[in-house]
Amino acid sequence: MALIEIEHLSHVYHAGEEGEQTALDDLSLSIERGEFVAVLGSNGSGKSTLAKHLNALLLPTSGACRIDGIDTREEADVWRIRQKVGMVFQNPDNQLIAAVVEDDVAFGPENLGVPSAEIRRRVDEALKAVNMTEFRSYAPHLLSGGQKQRIAIAGTLAMQTEAIVFDEATAMLDPEGRAEILSIVQRLHEEQGITVVYITHFMEEAAAADRILVLDHGRLVMDAPPREVFRHARELRALGLEVPLAVELRDRLRAAGVALPEDLLTPAELVAALSGKGGAASGD
């Protein structure tokens, strides 16, 4: 059984009222345990709405969303679902609750009624996992955006969630903070096997995932590994999305007649392919 199963999910804001707006339209997909899935889409494509369905912050208007087999509409099970799927939101300032870093990390397990000694152990472990142990007694407002997001990640780790959903968690960060968060997410995914759903509009971040979902107007238009998705650069641009710089360069070089593989993805691959050519050219 997949960890996250979505079947014919539709979500309509203000259903039956004026200004009715369909955010998700008959969406079906499933995410297995241990996957690292990036979700792409332009503004209004329904990315955030999808994210909020994954831990029952929003409920389907029709269709179903099941987390580990539990339907999110089961009101009695909503705490069990939120214990399985954690969320890191966009604004680093508006998701830390306590006035001291370690108290904030403890907030989740405290809500779950975990015994004090166990909370202490989990908090220490979670702070270590995001390299924030030395900031444990800081006030959140003294931290940088990237550090605040790391605390938010630690907060979900302390709840021992199986999956973490990042709802554009890097959108308000500087490039340094973004790189920091992505590397921590990758490490948690690899070392602890945490399932990651990573909503972003930074293509370089999406390229790091195992699989990319592309949404457009609430519909799933692509679902494939990054290499496959970025092969379709023209379609992506038509959806209002950018492509990673290496892919952009790949396409322009190909258009100019340089022979390059059409699924080339990272700057490193581009460099390797081009320097290989350079070697061949000088050999001529």
């Binding site: 912050l57 508006n94 998701q95 609750i97 006035a99 001291v100 405290e110 809500n111 009624g113 909370i119």
Partner: protein
């Protein structure tokens, strides 16, 4: 511009008073305040003054800092003293216009002022030696028996925690808004008071909008982390009474008993 505002007046340290459990401190403070109002003979005042002095020394908070907390009270003290001086009947030692100044008034005014000073010093000692976070925890613990009669102890504590968390963030934001307005020619420092107040409105409007947006986000984040009120909630940092606390409880009880006995004699 706003960065010099601090919340509370906590003075970090490791004195005996700092180490005392915050619950003990609140209860002892409460008991001493009651004693201050109940027992008002000169000897009682002497005991309470000595006690306060002893606490001030124990707290290791600089005397200047402690006495600084009396500053806002200065005018009230003067006013109280004068009222009592002029309005207490008794042996007159001077006459000023329609007021007769009496020896009794002098004594009465002095003791009332002393009471106010002691009251403020004792309360300040609590806030100087206890971080706002510990105060919040203690308040929740002390109020929790009243949950049964509908006192929202946990909710009050949660409100205080969130307020403590967001005051610095909102100060930063206010600063940012003010700078943005100043960059476009707003003037908050000159002009009549009415004009200055008018200029504050363009700060308050965006600030309020942002506060509500933050509250919305925060509520969602709290829900995502399984917050569902105080029911079934545990705490990582639990308060524990130490031998020192029992000593403080015992000492306070003894003091009250002695004062009460002297009073009845």
């Amino acid at each position: 511009m706003l960065s010099n505002i601090t919340i509370g007046q906590y003075f970090p340290g490791n004195s005996l008073l700092h180490r005392l459990d915050p619950r003990t401190k609140i209860v002892v403070l409460f008991a001493l305040i009651v004693a201050l109002f109940l027992f008002d003979r000169p000897a009682d005042y002497l005991v309470m003054s000595l006690l306060t002095l002893a606490f001030m020394l124990l707290s290791r908070v600089p005397l200047r800092t402690l006495l600084g907390s009396l500053k806002p009270l200065w005018w009230i003290l003067l006013f109280t003293f004068l009222i009592h001086l002029c309005s207490t009947p008794g042996e007159e030692f001077a006459h000023l216009w329609v007021f007769s100044l009496t020896f009794e008034g002098l004594a009465h005014g002095f003791f009332i002022c002393l009471r106010l000073v002691l009251l403020l010093l004792l309360s300040s000692l609590l806030t100087f030696t206890t971080s706002p976070l510990k105060l919040t925890d203690a308040l929740e613990a002390l109020l929790s028996p009243l949950k049964r009669i509908g006192v929202p102890a946990h909710e009050l504590a949660m409100m205080m925690t969130i307020a403590l968390r967001f005051v610095p963030t909102l100060i930063e934001e206010t600063d940012k808004i003010m700078k943005a307005q100043q960059a476009r020619g707003a003037d908050f420092v000159t002009g009549s008071i009415v004009r200055r107040l008018k200029n504050v409105v363009p700060i308050l409007v965006p600030l309020f909008i942002s506060v509500f947006r933050r509250a919305d986000d925060l509520a969602m984040a709290m829900e995502a982390r399984c917050y569902h009120g105080g029911e079934g909630r545990t705490q990582m940092k639990q308060l524990h009474f130490l031998p020192l606390d029992y000593l403080a409880w015992g000492g306070t009880a003894l003091l009250l008993a002695v004062l009460a006995a002297l009073w009845l004699l």
